[in-house]
Amino acid sequence: MSARPRVIGVGCRDRGDDAAGLVVARGFADEAEVVLCERGGPDLLGALEGATEAVVVDATIGAGPPGTVRAFLPDELPSDVAFCSSHVFGLPAAIAVARELGALPPRLLVVGIEGESFELHAPLSATVERAIPEARARVRAWLSEGRRS
């Protein structure tokens, strides 16, 4: 088991706001083990393995206006929100598989950032770019809470 918390960014760097999770996660190299997961579900399973405390950050569709940042516990993932990195199977399926295999980190948070544009080869939209600090603040608050407990 890894003692260091893990921040896992999920997404594709070449598809506009789909990269939001990767961008958020990259900001935590000094305080956590950062894992970038560019193939969604199957690789997320590997990224969760062995972690005791982890935050997964991904882009969402259906969670509110673009730029909306929401945080979910693994048991509370809403069925009406799509997490974008669904190459083969997506984030909720990966979390469900990890749970069945007994491989879910005991302390886990999912942070979603509502995307605006998922154009191929496009950068982050300005709206999502502005939401990155809020998403990082959510992650940081969760990590701090873990250190206190």
Partner: protein, 428 residues
């Protein structure tokens, strides 16, 4: 006469986004469409004007699952255009890396995407609940493939260490020999996988495929070879376009392939049926044990063939790691000249063809890339038509479920093909 429409608007457990519509009038199939609706990606167009050295890294972005097929195909094509031949040591390292891609892709498909179909389960989540040890085994195999890709390629998704002419740097021998025990475990796990999936029950269904694959004179073709077919074709890759075409269809953003105007089949069944005598020793032994005689024309048995190929990949990786010496230099020098070059490798799903022309400064003036799923598109629709016709008496939900499986038999990579899966069956 009742009309029925079976439709799946978003196919599950495939790479990318696609749909299936099947129409029946009574028990007669009247229409089948395998629709790929991912947006076109225009890779071939935006390569124009880019440097010949950029083609491998740009085209690798076509797919996160099989980037080596693009990195290598593009590199081979540019080497051919520039009149360069790489050393045997570089070829071996490329083959070893490709084994990593086969391992991760085949393990993922067999365990997480395809096995649930044969165990009567809806998805990998239920499979994890009922057979957790199987899923753990599949994931561990996949992880070994990922690590191999990372050590040789710099990272497992869209590797960055490959270039026209070879590699930017060669991994140290100790970094690769460190894999030996993992690969030995993986070989045993692959044999167990073959025994497991070889024992599944398969629908009684066969098609008279025209198989096309690469063939290498002395090994199971993965990273290079000549193009051969089950009707006697035996050509250099550079002659591909004399025999193979690609066409547009209205219902799909994927182009569709044809061989002399006919559908053809690429991928594990084609490779296995055309190159059976070149299986590695353990793979040949398990194939005999399973009674999996070539040619295999039942597409539902592709899961068993994929498992035998998983054995090939682990055996070859083990052999190549044991005899590995870093290539010196890691890349041969390449200077541009005006010309045309082709490349072709066996991606996990079948042959992936590249052709480029470049000018005297190395700028790309034309590009053509034919992915395996494009080539299999007509064969997939043929399977769906034939299976629906033979099984038209089944209730709609059961028929639809089997038709979805028939698509997963191909492990289609829809993201690669767009240039997908929803199923709809209509009864009139």
């Amino acid at each position: 006469m009742s009309n029925r429409t079976l439709k799946v608007d978003v196919l599950a457990r495939v790479e990318g986004e696609g749909a299936l519509h099947v129409k029946l009038k009574g028990d007669e199939v009247t229409d089948v469409k395998f629709k790929i609706y991912e947006p076109p990606r225009f890779f071939e167009s935006f390569l124009i004007g880019r440097a010949y050295t950029e083609a491998p890294d740009i085209t690798a972005r076509i797919c996160g699952i099989c980037p080596v097929a693009y990195l290598l195909g593009a590199s081979q094509a540019m080497e051919a255009a520039c009149g360069v031949t790489v050393s045997p040591a570089i070829r071996d390292l490329r083959r070893l890396m490709y084994c990593g891609e086969w391992i991760e892709s085949h393990a993922l498909h067999i365990y997480l995407l395809h096995a649930p179909d044969f165990l009567g389960l809806p998805d990998a989540i239920q499979l994890s609940a009922s057979h957790p040890d199987l899923v753990r085994r599949g994931l561990r195999m996949k992880k070994i493939g990922n690590h191999l890709m990372r050590v040789i390629g710099g990272r497992e998704v869209h590797p960055i260490n490959l270039r026209v002419g070879g590699f930017y740097s060669a991994p140290a021998r100790e970094d690769l020999i460190a894999f030996e025990s993992d690969l030995q475990w993986g070989l045993e796990a692959a044999l167990e996988t073959a025994r497991l999936v070889g024992g599944f029950e398969f629908p009684s269904f066969e098609r008279d495929y025209l198989f096309v694959a690469l063939r290498h004179p002395d090994r199971y073709a993965i990273e290079e070879g000549r193009l051969v077919s089950s009707d006697g074709l035996d050509i250099a890759v550079s002659e591909f376009e004399d025999h193979f075409t690609e066409d547009q269809v209205r219902h799909s953003t994927s182009l569709t392939g044809a061989y002399r105007g006919r559908p053809y089949h690429v991928g594990p069944l084609a490779r296995y049926s055309l190159n059976f005598e070149q299986l590695t020793p353990e793979a040949a032994r398990i194939a005999r044990e399973l009674g999996l005689k070539p040619p295999v024309r039942n597409p539902f048995r592709s899961i068993a063939v994929r498992a035998v190929e998983l054995v090939v990949a682990f055996e070859e990786a083990l052999r190549l790691v044991r005899c590995y010496e870093p290539p010196h230099p890691p890349a041969v020098p390449v200077s541009p000249r005006a010309g045309r070059g082709t490349g072709c490798t066996e991606a996990p799903r079948g042959i992936c063809y590249h052709r480029y022309t470049i000018d005297e400064n190395g700028a790309i003036t034309s590009a053509r890339i034919q992915s395996p799923t494009c080539q299999n598109h007509p064969s997939i629709e043929g399977d769906l038509w034939a299976f629906a016709q033979e099984n038209a008496a089944l209730p709609d939900d059961e028929l639809q479920w089997k038709l979805e499986q028939a698509i997963r038999n191909y492990d289609p990579c829809i993201s690669c093909a767009t240039h997908a899966i929803r199923v709809r069956v209509s009864r009139e």
